[in-house]
């Protein structure tokens, strides 16, 4: 009497040989199945990687940003607000931020110009992001000339190039001195772009937000948790959008797989009849068919996942790059950081392996419980 393991191995042997009788059909099915799993897993891995990185990096974002609005648009913040905010209970620090956008018609890209609160470049010099340096072909020591708000060219010397490892944050950044920033944009000394606040007790952030809403009705506070939530939602939404776009092809595959798995051909019916006639038990036939489904779906899941891992983390997610880049001219050159969510992997396993395997068993159960003579006729 063979052991249970031996018994299953004989059944797997038989199932594999049965699949091998029509190699083209089954290999084709395996290839399409694998591709579908690979695309779904790629979306999952890519989104999870970006979401994780955003979560880790932006955990250092300002606790509260206060923007002033004028006629519904972002307006400059008068420096007089600083003193009024310092007086609010719960606020431990406040400073003005200076940042803005500049469209460079030379390469058709938007830059983010910013004044660092400390260690700012000396007047007349700037530090630029790696993407910008690449696009404009700039090296340290070169002169970058931009058209200032008054229409005059404004030349600044590149003093430093920001790390390529921080491209995801800084690819389009131009860091410059406060003096140059104000002269370039024509912003008066008593105005800032917006304000950032530190709150003494993190649990009081919402109270501080309410106070700000009350005291400064023309302003809009943005909390760090809102920043983090936005990124969580952006990547969740992106994943959802891609899944919806893929839905058509996934459904087409489901129909194909369902038809293949659940529709028994006359030949398969005869085979079951013969097996029953030579003494196979119903349970054995169902186990054999279970292995047929499991061989295809488990192989497709494993191959698909491994392909997705290689695609996203070792081939730079080439399929998704155009979607992410959009119309942007400056795009960060970064490698997604490998991050695999066990729960998502388990979900993918459940939805790719189980339905197909079940779909192969159900119709067999209906046929296998009938009399062999009736099945073969």
């Amino acid at each position: 009497m063979p052991s249970a393991f031996q018994r299953q191995r004989y059944l797997i042997d038989y199932s594999l040989m049965a699949l091998g009788r029509r190699p083209g059909k089954h290999l084709g099915l395996l290839a399409v199945y694998t591709l579908i799993v690979a695309v779904l897993a790629s979306v999952m891995l890519f989104s999870e990687s970006l979401r994780g990185e955003a979560r880790l990096l932006l955990a250092g974002a300002p606790e509260v940003v206060l923007q002033r609005l004028e006629a519904g648009r972002h307006a400059l913040m008068p420096a007089s607000y600083l003193a009024r905010i310092e007086g609010l209970r719960g606020v431990s620090g406040v400073r003005g931020r200076l940042w803005g956008y500049h469209y460079d018609p030379f390469i058709g890209a938007n830059y983010t110009l910013m004044v660092p609160p400390s260690d700012a470049p000396l007047p007349g010099t700037l530090a630029i992001g790696a993407g910008l340096a690449r696009s404009r072909g700039l090296e340290v020591g070169d002169l970058l000339s931009l058209r200032a708000a008054n229409g005059e060219p404004y030349g600044l010397k590149v003093a430093a190039r920001l790390d390529t490892e921080s491209e995801l944050l800084s690819t389009d950044l131009v860091l410059l001195s406060e003096q140059d920033f104000r002269a370039f944009f024509g912003i008066p000394a008593d105005h800032y772009t917006d304000l950032v606040l530190q709150v003494r007790n993190p649990r009081e952030v919402h109270t501080v937000k309410e106070k700000l809403n009350l005291v400064f009705p023309d302003s809009r506070p943005i909390l760090r948790e809102e920043v983090l939530r936005t990124y969580d939602a952006v990547f969740g939404w992106r994943q959802g959008v891609v899944f919806v776009i893929l839905l058509g092809s996934v459904l087409a595959f489901v129909i194909l797989a369902w038809d293949k798995a659940s529709g028994l051909s006359a030949e398969e019916r005869r085979e079951i009849g013969v097996l029953k006639a030579v003494g196979w038990e119903t349970a054995d036939i169902m186990r054999m068919k279970f292995w047929e489904g499991a061989v295809i779906s488990l192989s497709a899941f494993l191959l698909g996942y491994l392909l997705a891992y290689l695609h996203v983390f070792h081939a730079g997610a080439v399929l998704f790059a155009p979607v992410l880049k959009g119309w942007a001219v400056l795009y960060p050159d970064f490698a997604p950081l490998p991050s695999v969510d066990g729960l998502q992997l388990a979900t993918l396993f459940f939805f790719t392996v189980f339905p197909y395997t079940l779909a192969t068993i159900v119709p067999i159960w209906r046929v296998a419980t009938r009399d062999p003579d009736a099945v073969m006729r």
Binding site: R9, Y10, I12, D13, L16, G20, L50, E53, L57, L58, G60, A61, V65, Q67, G72, R73, H74, R95, R97, Y101, N110, T112, P116, P117, G131, E165, L168, L169, T171, L175, V196, I222, E226, V227, T230, Y231, V234, W237, R238, V241, S299, L302, L303, Y305, L306, Y309, F313, V323, L324, G326, W327, A328, L330, Y331, P332, L337, P338, S339, V340, G342
Partner: protein
């Protein structure tokens, strides 16, 4: 060699590779910890609020700083026309 032995070897190897990918991801996360810490320090130092993923328009560069209606405020009746707009979630209704 029996077909089952071949398939089981394949499953075993692939599962090992899958496990290895989890371990590798974990290791690369640890290896990137310093880089991420430097990134986070940069975020703290400069007071950054956004990733430079979509640099194509003002309201996509700093997603968290722009209003929901920012894409439509260039002029009355303006339609949102940047591809990234399609990737950003609408508010919950």
């Amino acid at each position: 060699m029996r077909p089952s032995a071949l398939w089981l070897t394949f499953v075993l190897l692939s599962t090992l590779l899958l496990g290895l990918s989890l371990l590798l991801a974990d290791r690369e996360q640890s290896a990137a910890a310093e880089r991420l810490a430097r990134g986070r320090a940069m975020v703290e130092q400069l007071g950054l609020t956004d990733l430079a993923l979509f640099t194509e328009a003002r309201y996509t560069r700093h997603l968290t700083q722009a209003d929901r209606f920012a894409p439509f405020q260039d002029h009355p009746g303006a339609l949102e026309h940047f591809p990234s707009g399609a990737l950003v979630a609408p508010p919950n209704h």
